[in-house]
Symmetry: D4
Subunit: 240 residues, 8 copies
């Protein structure tokens, strides 16, 4: 297949101080997952919201990556004591990227922080801290190695996700302390954890793909082919 047919996948990013120098930052596993899935990864930095249209236009699909907590301002709330680091500017550009992608009919894959950002951008709200909000929570922030699965999820058999895993119950990794609270319109829950935490959502419409995943398939993909398949199908859709 000639390279010009490959889908360009824009990956959102953050800014972290590395050796005390502010630096564009996104886990390299996202790049690997896009390459293994057959796409061309580019990293979209944080910038003014006016840039969002240009960035979305140059891409065939969008991955919202992991990172900071969602700023409660993004869902009209005030912060609770256990909220962690937020980044207003990242929220603002990602919300604009999401709206532009939907307008331009580009597929979205939203991972970890991404699923909560997607939900807020579409009008939902966010659990600011699972442990102090959800009753009888399981552990959602594993100390096990990042690619290791540590808890069960139950997948809706009517979902696109089920078509990939072909199982109702799988075990996934988990590194988050926030989650979807009030679901936004136009998306539906397709997987949940044993404590009821939303683990995956899909758009109500079939196309373009709108996929939210609370765990980290980009980490599990090294050892688990079905997680790799998830990226392959997403990128194939972007390529259409």
């Amino acid at each position: 297949m000639p390279f010009e047919k490959k889908a360009i996948i824009g990956i959102s990013s953050s800014v972290e101080n590395h050796n005390n120098i502010p630096s564009v930052h996104v886990h390299e596993k996202y790049v690997q997952a896009v390459l293994n899935g057959g796409g061309i990864p580019v990293v979209i930095p944080i910038g003014p919201t006016e840039m969002a249209k240009a960035w979305v236009s140059m891409c065939d699909g969008l991955i919202l990556s992991s990172g900071e907590d969602i700023d409660p301002a993004s869902f009209q709330a005030n912060p609770i004591p256990l909220i962690q680091k937020t980044n207003q500017k990242r929220d603002k550009i990602e919300i604009e990227l999401i709206h532009n992608a939907i307008k331009l009919q580009k597929p979205i894959l939203a991972i970890c922080r991404g699923i909560t950002m997607l939900n807020a951008a579409l009008g939902g709200t966010v659990v600011q801290d699972i442990c102090t909000t959800v009753s009888n929570p399981i552990n959602h922030y594993q100390q096990a190695e990042r690619p290791e699965a540590t808890h069960d999820i139950i997948i809706d058999t009517t979902s696109r996700l089920y078509q990939i895993f072909q199982k109702q119950k799988i075990r996934v990794n988990s590194m988050h302390h926030q989650a979807i609270e009030m679901l936004a319109p136009n998306i539906k829950v397709v997987a949940t954890a044993p404590d009821g935490v939303v683990e995956a959502v899909e758009g109500i419409n079939d196309t373009p793909i709108l996929w939210g995943i609370q765990w980290h398939p980009e980490e599990m993909a090294v050892e688990d082919p079905s997680m790799n398949e998830l990226f392959k199908q997403f990128i194939a859709e972007c390529n259409k």
Copy 2:
């Protein structure tokens, strides 16, 4: 000016372990400098060399950013004891990006590590460590704040660089321990430090711009408008 006219500027990047997780990494000042210069920044991750053509094709210009030492394999040499961290994969993709940019007539701005990478990619060689190789060297790795100018350079009055600064002698910041050794064909030296270290090069041909800068204009641009002008002119060229 409608946004579609803005030039897309690809910025090369590295991989650093941040909290022990390999992450795409490039100083955020490059993003700021492109935004302030009127361009649309995107970050190009390290990937297989086959990707280079696709990445160059989607951009109107290329910035080679700072970072690791040049792998001596990139200029057919073996490492000396004082060499620091190298990254073979980064060298390989950047060399391919340079060759594709030249082929596709896209302007290149190569900063710090970038100037030595550009020189090696075009057939030159690299001083592996200034202090043990150059005689009577001045300090090229300042402990002063990054944006602060710390040593003189002399600019060739016939250069494009001179048109920006309008001075033969300016003072610049400095954070490198490698430099150009044997100059590659098709580029010329346009600025030097008091100890003879090459501080800037330009392509022999006028267009597209081929600019190598040994100091860090992206850091100085915060307080020094002429450094900002450098990015503006580069991006204006990319926009043509």
Copy 3:
């Protein structure tokens, strides 16, 4: 305007071990804010209370800066378990600076720790730890970048503060775990957080200005002109 007309603003400070050497310490943002506001900043070190009159005499206005918890001895109480670092000597000199400033009719701007210190100096008391004392508290110690606004406050429309912001509801940054408890005589509350925490006070008399601010306008002033305006008005008053 010739420089002799500029107001001299004394900024209170603390002592911190830096590289294990006790050092005068105050955030440089206070200096910037005074310079941007048109004043001449000088830093007042901690010293014997007999010095207070001399220090106040040489200044046209006083800024009480951020830092340690208020020593419960300053409001006739014993410490609760969650109190953090206190500094008796700083409390003593700042109380004396406040009393001298009031006596000599010099304006006071009291920020973060400053607002609680001002309240204690004037006869009020202090919430030693918000989370264990206030019911249903929001987050008052953000992990977001220091200049980023993270929670709402409601401003009294009859206040001097309202004249600056011209809005009843604004969003401010927040880095404190103590707050005003019993209000001192001669000051009034002019802004509160959604959980009832006092966010700003003003003197009952119009002049000289007596301003207490629980958030950090000196941090927000970089990006928010209305925060800068706050310093400008304060310094203009000192200049009268």
Copy 4:
């Protein structure tokens, strides 16, 4: 003695990142030494050079404190490899403070970095690194506790300094790697170390006092009354 008669002593300062926050910074020992010497200490922050006149005007004397290396730009040179951290802005304001103090006839006490700054401001040059420049150097950067004397100096019997110590040979502490190179006009050497390094200078004119001290009397003053006497005499002169 009523407090209004006490001399106000301005102490120059630096900016250091403390917990990653830029902060005004000067060793608290300078404040103690001024208090013990009978003066009123205030700390002068780094600011625009236009402020220098105002700061000098409000003080009766000036102490130039310790800290960074002198920026070679302050004596028309380029940096050598072993130079350490420099701070252009601090050099600029201190040079302006020195010139204003001399113009306004205010005494100056310049300690450690101060003596080299004073020399550069008056037209002299600076040894950028003693160990690589001076032949057969002794140790000038002790690892012993800061107040502990570690090497000899020889004092000129005709100097003001000799009147304090009444000895030709005393032992002092030492924490510097730079020193006076070419002496500036209008000052004279009054003490040297065994390796010839200049340890103290005085102005050629008797008043106002112009004192440069390469060691740290403010540290030794805790245990050594003659070091305290040095501050007392300086402040007495400021009080005249």
Copy 5:
């Protein structure tokens, strides 16, 4: 006694990042304890479960060493919030080592993590965190030096363990936050802490020895001969 008669004791191990390099890791005290007990220690690394039979075959006895928490997947559960680091691969190989040792009639000594791993492998369950699960717990994670005894245990007088210590009540060291919950078939409790936590188990059958110990006899053996005796008896059994 000629060396060929000595029992080969396989010690299970973990993988830890040491200087950021994944390394086989097991406390050296286990090696010392086996040497002092008269055995030949070898360390069994983590590997594919197919290797278990080979590893057990080459040994005369098996020591399950200390380390990570038990993955709740090993006893069909989901993790609670206070679970700590788990390692699925270690659980899998140790379960297989246990089953092979039982099948091949090789003695097992399971220490700390080992006793919970043994219980899970045989069909029992594990308390994921003592403090949040056991009522009125004593301290089971001492900050005292590792070999120091810090709490009582009560030993069943009919046990093999009692034959070694000859006391119903001894004091042991303690460094764990998990414990046996539902006891597996074929083992019995032979010692408990004052809060009811299981401190030792033995197999229902006399031979081969199946010994689970919640404390760290390998640490206490340096100063306490009876702890050394425990290893001697175990190794003597392996030698039969």
Copy 6:
């Protein structure tokens, strides 16, 4: 006074890893306090209990210094979860030192840990952690500088302590999380904190002095002459 008349004061000590090397360790302030109080300090290391008689015999008085928690074994208990580091060997030698000092009629001054150790040695028990045991506790572990007083205590007017301070209420520093629970026979409480925690005890008999102090007079003595007086009186008694 000729030196032979000075009392020799034995100060108990601990073992700490300093640069990973086990080292005899005791705060130097105890040495200063004894010197300032007119005694000759010597440090008694931890050793076998048989040594206790020799150590007590060579001293005229005994100071029990601060440090680890009391091992619950010293008062026939098991540890609670919030106990911190204990050191069985230190407890054992200190108990023996106490018993020998009483037998040989040598005065004892027991500070911080010392007061709880003294109480346990004489048959009392210890609160293992104030915050989880005492109701409505104040802060007993200040983050203020060590010599700074942070909470009130009430002194019994009939006590020897009252004779020194001549006040019923003083403010003391505080750095402990354990305290006396059940008082031992032969000592009486002579000071308490506002939450009821025992702050000082004295022996029922007048001589030799048996003094237990929960705060740190050796730290406060630098600035507070009455704290110094406490050591003077103790040493004077040892000298009799």
Copy 7:
């Protein structure tokens, strides 16, 4: 192939303090390399030399792993200033393992430290520090990622090594500061670096294999199949 036929490969190890606890330590890559090469890895701890025969007897081949410097006592020398950490006990057991393996005709693969240990055990000597001993040395301690090749080696075409790589010049990774000095009898040099440093040796006799490799094939094997082949051939020989 049934598993019983797999060769058991003993890997020598060291003791490192991990979280301040002495632990058996060997890079996990050795285990992976043996597993990928078709062998059964076991780790041989450091122990008394009398154990060597038992350990060699239970294995089919021996890998000497990387780590500390060779104790100069192992080749009758005294240490030079730049020697790094040595471990007498490790040297002693490895020398005995080597002698037993040769006696029992078991193959040996000696990597990095291993090649120098092998040389010393057989009667050769060791360069204690390359940089201060070898003239014009290249860099042998790369800061590049561990699996990355950084310098050339030249392979003898008559060697067993050449049969694997089929090239005279390859590029290898490098992390050592010691090397073979005087070659031991019965081994021959089969590869050298550009500066003459010995990079590989082989036994003079064909069987059993005696292989010394100065670089780290176990690190490169992840990406370089020929490095993996090296382990496969070694293990195949052990299996004979």
Copy 8:
């Protein structure tokens, strides 16, 4: 033997900041060595020189322990650049302890720093840094574990030391960068390293013992009975 016959051995000490608190500090191995050698150890803190007579009087022998460099003032010199931390107060009290011990005929054992202190106290001088002063030095600062022997020494057969070791050549541990330069009167060299560094001295007179040892017998004594014997003989002499 009844305990009252045991010799009291005073061990000199230093002050180190431990958790930022100045603390009396001496390696615990000295205490162990004295206990194992049959003495009663007490630690002598640093204090005013007037205390020396009292401290020596209460002891039967004196051990000068390891630690800081000798202050060149103690042998009338100035420091060279590579000198490390010195401590004037420690030098002063140890010199006075030595003079008093000699006057009172008490044996002295001076270890590591002790041997150079003894030499300076008696009128000799000290090599301030071996590596920059001695030609062709061997390594005297091992990175091997502290008790491990790393270099040879040659012992004079007529010495008291030879009677203990009964060998002309032994191997010792080594952790120092200073050494004896010009030998003091009344002591003689009894052991040297291969590079000529003095490794042991003895007094010219037979009694009382005056022993200087440059290595660390207190560390080696754990595994080497002859090193333990050294302490036994010293303490036996003190007991006479």
